[in-house]
Structures are given as structure tokens and as C-alpha cells.
Symmetry: C2
Subunit: 493 residues, 2 copies
């Protein structure tokens, strides 16, 4: 269940009346002014729609839909200046636009135009409008291949219609699933993009490529290194929950202790409660950033260290003491600002539409085995059960996942012959388990950020950034410059 990768988060878009110099052909673009989350940067973009085929791989369905993309050309050096193209993932593109400060920060020095393309079926890019999620018939065109084709066609169109863009080298940038897309985009359409930055992209988190337990091992390590006995106490907490929730009084106590919006009433609720806690620890591992941030939730700097302060018990701790600590720890995640009156266990992330879409993708192509053993990780043992997962998918969506397809179509571990892809990964990020964490060739390179969580390098720079992420960003820009140079050279030769 990967809905914790990139939950959807609505940001405020402030509409201003002042004029931007819109290219005249962009008749489908709206002028918008958006304020970045980082107070130091204020940026402007135009939000556009492009009519695109619903089905790129068949000709029976000849309909089109409006795909949204955001453009910012303030620093673009035309003609021929590069384009940094964000390959949108499973959510509203404005959110990724605001959370990819790296692109905004390097636009000027590269003289680059920025484009953020929304992934079909997310945000406002809905192939069948409000019916897009109605049944497997409408969901049929929600695949990564269709999304990549969207990006390719959009770039071809921009190049042929936007004055000065014809010879612009385009670099794909993306994080998480968006990073997988940017890597795959370069692999499948090297004619369209000269290179790709795939940040925290678990392109190997597919059947048979990496051990299914590595993801949760890294989550566990993050807690183990962040405080005394932290992972051990979380490992103990599952049994403590079992014990306490075995009586009505215990359930009542837990409901109050955790300030739950919906009371725990039975064993089944306790099961759901444990899943919710597990998701919480996973999410914390993903967003264990070195500064106060608001990615999934508003959180303090190094949030796992803060969480672990409440879990530093000795082995003699009682179940109730332990769970009181767990409760305080959970509230670091859910109530750092103190504004929540209760905790809602049915939500770990926001944006149901984004979740549903990703669930469908997991139920079709994006089959990512996960497992725990309770020994090498701090969770209750659970094997990866493809058949059960497939049956669940069939019940929910009427489709079955194809376990081997992603490996076949995107190359799995046999990607040596490709070029110009940076795989950056954070050592704290559980998704690095499925990432490319070593150099494959001179031009398929890995950048490790030992102190980094989920695509830290794509975020705005911050005074608290560790040296490793500063170095990573500098190296990424260096590769960008090389690719741009290569492209200019080959287009003039």
C-alpha cells in the first residue's frame, strides 16, 4: 500500500490581475501568481491546458482531454535555452510545483524555462472529467506508458509552437513516482529529453528485483539511530496494543490516550489502528528532514528524533507507559501545531483522489512487494502475498495486476545501455531500498545523500541542509550543464 508516497495537498493559488508576457499562442493558459512555501522565493507561472489523446496506444478511442501544465519562463534564455520538465506524479501538479524548489532555484543560472506537467487522472487532468474514476472502463487509460506519451507529445508540441524552443534541450526532473517517470522517460524517449534527474525513484521496487523487506528495514534503522531503544520500543508496542485492546476498558483508555476522533470498539479497530501507526512511522521516515517542514504534515526538524524522545524506555516499561509514549510520539506527527482536536485514524495522508489513482496503478503495473519479519524490522511479521493482493484488486477495480510487466517494459536491472540519468537517493528514505544506489555506468549515476529523506534534493535549499544535499544539488546542476552542452553540440554538428 503505497498511498503514503505522494499524498495530495491542496495549496493556495492566489489570482492576481497583473500581466505576464504570455506567448501569444498560449491561448489556453491562465495567468496565475503563486507564492512558494519558502518565504524567500516568490514565483510566477502560467497554468495551461493542452488537448491530448486519451489513448496513445490504440485508435478506437480517438477522444482528447485537457491536460494541465504549468510554465514559468521568467529566466528562460531564448532561443534555445533549456527546459526543465517536471514529470508529474500521482497528485495535483501545483503541489509538486511548490515542493520542487530546486528547479525554481536553478532556473536563473541555467537560463531555463520550467514546465510542470500534470499526470493524467490527477489534479485537473481528468480524461473523462468527473467520470474518470468510474469503473475500470474509464480507468483503463491510467498507466505510466500513457503518461509518458502525454509528456512526449506535449514537449513535441511546445517545441514546434513556442518561439525559441525548437532547439531547446529538455531535461526531465521528478521525485518519487515522478522520478521513476523521469528515468523511464529518458529511457523510452531519449529523442525528447536529453537527460533525467530521478530523485528518490524506486525503479527496482518490483517483484524479484530487491528483497521485499528492505523498505521497512530502512524505516527501522531511521528510528534506531534517532534515539535510545526507539525501534525496540516500537517493536514492543504492537504486542502492548494487543494486550491493552483485549478489554473494553483498555480500548477506552487507548481512545482517550491517543485522542482518537473515532473510538476503538473491538479487535478489528485495533488492527486498523496498528496499520495507521505503521503508516505513521513510515511517513515519518520519508519526511525526516533536517529542518521544520510541511510536506505531508507540519513537522519539527529531524522529526524522528523528536518522536524518539517519547519512546526512550528501558525494557522494564509497562504496556500502558509504552503506549503513552507512542501516543505522544504520534502526536508529533499529527498535531505538531497543536491545532488538531483529535486524531483521525482513517487518514494518514490527504487527497482521496490521488490515493485512489495510485491504488489503481499499484493494482495494475506498479506492483511493489513489501514485507516485514519483526526481526530485521520493528513491525509485525507480514509476508508479501501477491495472490491476496491480486484478489483485492479484482474486487475493488475489476482488474488484476501484472507482476512482471513493469520489469519487462522498463528494463528492471538491465538498464546499462541507457544514458544520462541521475538517480539520487536519501540514506534515510525507505524508498531508497528500491532505488539505484550505485553507479551503473559513467552516465547512469547514483548520488547518495546519507542524511537525506525522500527527495530532499528537490526541495528548496535551507540553512539546515546537510553538506551532502548541497553537494548533491551542485553535482546535479553540473550534469545538467554537461547534458545541455552535449545537446547543443550534437544539434549544431
Amino acid at each position: 500500500m503505497l498511498y503514503h508516497i505522494i499524498p495530495l495537498k491542496i495549496i493556495l493559488l492566489l489570482n492576481f490581475s497583473f500581466k505576464l508576457s504570455l506567448p501569444s499562442h498560449l491561448k489556453h493558459c491562465q495567468e496565475l501568481r503563486s507564492r512558494g512555501l519558502n518565504e524567500h522565493i516568490e514565483f510566477y507561472f502560467v497554468s495551461c491546458f493542452y488537448l491530448i489523446q486519451i489513448d496513445h496506444f490504440g485508435f478506437l478511442e480517438d477522444g482528447t482531454f485537457k491536460q494541465r501544465y504549468l510554465m514559468a519562463d521568467k529566466h528562460w534564455k531564448q532561443p534555445g535555452g533549456p527546459v526543465l520538465f517536471y514529470t508529474g506524479n500521482e497528485g495535483d501538479i501545483t503541489w509538486f510545483c511548490n515542493n520542487t524548489g530546486f528547479m525554481w532555484e536553478i532556473a536563473e543560472e541555467l537560463g531555463a524555462m520550467l514546465v510542470f506537467a500534470e499526470h493524467r487522472y490527477y489534479g485537473e487532468s481528468l480524461p473523462f472529467g468527473p467520470d474518470s474514476y468510474r469503473g475500470s472502463k474509464h480507468l483503463n487509460y491510467l498507466t505510466s506508458e500513457q503518461a509518458l506519451a502525454d509528456f512526449a507529445v506535449l514537449i513535441q508540441d511546445l517545441k514546434s509552437t513556442l518561439p525559441g524552443a525548437q532547439h531547446s534541450p529538455v531535461i526531465a526532473v521528478g521525485g518519487s513516482y515522478g522520478g521513476m517517470l523521469s528515468a523511464w522517460f529518458r529511457m523510452k524517449y531519449p529523442n525528447i529529453v536529453v537527460g533525467a534527474l530521478a530523485s528518490s525513484a524506486p525503479i527496482w521496487q518490483f517483484p524479484g528485483m530487491v528483497p521485499c523487506g528492505d523498505f521497512y528495514k530502512i524505516v527501522t534503522q531511521d528510528f534506531a539511530r534517532s534515539g535510545y531503544n526507539c525501534d525496540a520500543n516500537i517493536r514492543k508496542s504492537w504486542k502492548a496494543i494487543e494486550n491493552v485492546s483485549s478489554t473494553a476498558a483498555g480500548l477506552q483508555w487507548m481512545t482517550e490516550e491517543f485522542s482518537l476522533c473515532t473510538p476503538l470498539k473491538n479487535k478489528n479497530d485495533a488492527f486498523g489502528f496498528k496499520n495507521w501507526l505503521q503508516e505513521t512511522w513510515v511517513n515519518l521516515a520519508m519526511v525526516d528532514y533536517p529542518y521544520e517542514a510541511n510536506f505531508l504534515q507540519p513537522l519539527p526538524r529531524w522529526p524522528i528524533q523528536v518522536v524518539c524522545k517519547y519512546l526512550a524506555f528501558d525494557s522494564t516499561v509497562s504496556d500502558y507507559q509504552l503506549l503513552r509514549g507512542v501516543s505522544q510520539a504520534a502526536k508529533v506527527y499529527y498535531n505538531y501545531t497543536g491545532s488538531s482536536s483529535c486524531l483521525n485514524t482513517s487518514q494518514t495522508a490527504t487527497g482521496s483522489l490521488g490515493f485512489l489513482g495510485w491504488y489503481y496503478q499499484a493494482c495494475t503495473e506498479m506492483v511493489m512487494p513489501m514485507c516485514t519479519d519483526g526481526v530485521h524490522d520493528m513491525f509485525e511479521p507480514e509476508e508479501w502475498n501477491f495472490q491476496a493482493f491480486s484478489d483485492e484488486c479484482n474486487i475493488i477495480f475489476g482488474v488484476r495486476p501484472r507482476a512482471d510487466w513493469a520489469g519487462t517494459v522498463y528494463g528492471g536491472k538491465d538498464i546499462t545501455s541507457h544514458s544520462n540519468i541521475i538517480f539520487s537517493n536519501g540514506g534515510l528514505d525507505p524508498w531508497s531500498a528500491g532505488g539505484v544506489t550505485y553507479n551503473i555506468t559513467d552516465s547512469l549515476v547514483s548520488i547518495m545523500i546519507p542524511d537525506g529523506a525522500h527527495h530532499l534534493d528537490l526541495r528548496y535549499s535551507n540553512d539546515h541542509d546537510p553538506p551532502s544535499v548541497r553537494a548533491a544539488r551542485a553535482l546535479e546542476v553540473k550534469y545538467f550543464r554537461e547534458w545541455i552542452k552535449q545537446a547543443k553540440k550534437s544539434s549544431t554538428s
Copy 2:
């Protein structure tokens, strides 16, 4: 109208009762013994069926169908011996199997297994059985992308189930559209094939990539160099046909002179007659082989030279004299063996199913502009009219072609970043107009065969082969060996 690329031709498959050593898992394979067209080679293969997804790019249609492939492992050095994989084109795979003697001839020296995979919707690989061609709904899965995915999945399956094949490097081989597929296969699935031989593959015969008139220019050059005034007299013949067919007596004369099965009755018939002749000259250019052969038709060696003997008139020739020559020339193509009692102008090639499938492909992805001007070529002027073509497609199939898609998805002229593809082309072959006829990089190489017609290099060797095709084949094998060496090296490192 490209149905002259690869018409379908049924060959005799002789069923023998003797036993081949079939791998036990190949339970869907039939034992067959087939005799090559070249008397010197007798080869054996098993004919197998593999259950494969109807739709690789969507999950709504979860049905499978039986894809046919042929296997020959007599010379295969297992474990790890290479696989030469023919990427089937628009016709019955047994025909390509029999007409690709090159693979049979090099199997032993490479210790290679041969696999010939049939393209979906052709031969016996029909996704919806007899309904496969019934309407655009059933035809929806007839695309090159689906075909490539078939090949990829089939190879993955063979590697995982066939003992000794797990580490076998696979090389794609194909001619004409099959050659385009083999090149694209390497581009899109470099994880599956270590290299590709794309023989006579017009991967640039798409909108905006090469001048639309080059194809017919080459046809014309073939005739110009094959006999005195040969192209000039064909250029003159169109007006002569107009003149003679303007009277009932003239139509009658032509019907008799050309021994037509169906009499010419009016101007419209004369128009169709001209198209048929034009196709005839094109086909002759494609099969202008240096020895007696039976590819599209039984023909003498250097058939255009034979044809041109009947067209070596001075400028003073009368319309009737000229057309008598044209008639004798056409009969070289249609009645070399003397067994035809009349000429059927409704057929230049055989196999209506193959034709219909290719027509659908041309009406969707395979948009190949062609034009003539009557000055640089010997045909009546005709512009390329995309809109008219699109309208025709819409009437016939209810679909419209997407002119730019092939260029976007397969890279057009921007293919520099790929590797390990040989593009071989014959100087006599009109399809070389859309082929890659120069080296792009060290590992995207062009091999020109000045005296070669359509994929001559893939045919059986022959005593009359010009040195250029012998050299081409030797060089191709040299590259194969290099790719195999590379693959072994990277799999052990």
C-alpha cells in the same frame, strides 16, 4: 499504399512423423519439418503457441490469445548460446522463416537457436480468431507497440522456462517492416535484445523525415540503369495508355494485348490498370535480385534488365508499339513460368489478410508519405495528400491516422543515444529512401549493398550474389559476435 512491402505467401509445410528432441515444457509446440526454398538447405523447426495478453497497455481487456512462433534449436549451444529472434512482420511467419535463409545459414557458426515470432493479427496469431478483422473494435490492438510488447514478453518467458536460455543473449533480426520492428525493439527494450539487424527498414519513411518523392526516384533509377530508354518509355506509357484507352477499340486491344482476365471497359478501368502497372514496376524494383528467385513471383535473375529489353524503344515509337513492349515487360513479372492464362489486375500481391492488416497499420501509425512528380521519376505526378488519406481511412476503418506519432514514439531522426543496431540497405531498393544509409554512431551503423534489392542480405546465399552482399553478411555476423561478447562480459561482471 504499401501493400507491396510484404505480401503474404502460403508455403507448403510438410508434416513428418519423426521425432525431434522437444524441450519438455514446450507442450504447445507441434513438430514440423519444413523444407527451405533453397534446395541446399533442409531445416526443421517446431511451431509453438504462446498465450499472450491482447492488451499490454491497458488492464480492462484482460484476455489472451495464442501467438505463434517457430523455433529451431538444432545448432543451439546451451547453456547460454545466443538466440536469433526474427521480429515477424505483416504476414504468415512461416513465409518469413523460409525467406530468411541468412539466419539458417549462420545458426551453426554462432551456435544459435532461431526463433521466428509471428506478428499479432497475421498468419495464425489472431487475437480474436476469425473476428480479428471485424471492425475497429477488434482491430484496436493491432499496433507496433503491442507487437513489440508481445516479442518482449515471449522472450522473457522463453528465458525463464527454457533450460539453458536464461543467460542467452538475444539478437533481433528483421527485414522491411520486420526490420523496423527489430530496430525499434532494440531501442525500446534494450534489456531484452542485445542488438538488432534492421534490414531494409524504412524507419524514416514518416512525415517530415525524408522527401516523399525519393521512393519512386529510386524505382526510376533502377529502370534507368537496366536498359536503354527504359525509364523514359515507362514515363511515356501513361500517356499512351490514356490515348489508346480513349476508344472502345483501344480498350479492347489493350485487354487482348495484356491478356487481362477482366476486360477494360472504361476510363475508370484504365485508371486502375495504370495503378496496377505502377505497382508492378515498384515490386520489380523491390525484388531485382541477381539470381532467379521466387519472393513475390517467380522471376529471372536481374528481372528489371529482362523487363527493360522489351522497353528499349527510340523516341519515335508509336503508342501501340510502346504498349506492346509494356505488355511483354509486365508478363515477365506475372507469367515468367508461362503458367498464367491471363493477368489479374486486381492483384499485384497475394494474401488479402496481410494486406488488410497493413492497410490498417498505415491508417493508424504507419503513415508513410509518398509522391511522384513525373520529372524526377517515371510516374504520373501525384502529391501526398494526408487529408484525403485520413478521410479514406476513416471511411474504411473508422479510424484516423496520427501523422506525428511514429516520429514521437520511435524517435524519428533523433536516435543517436541508442546502440547496437545495424541498418542494412540495398541501393536498388526503393525502401532505402526511408532507411538509415549512413553511420549515426559507432554502434548505430549503416551497411550499404549497392547491388542489393529489398533485404537481399537476409536471403539464402547464392552463387550469383554480388560481393557487396557477401561482405554485408560477413560484417553483420561480425557485429553479432561483438554483441554476444559484450553481453557475456556484462553478465559475468
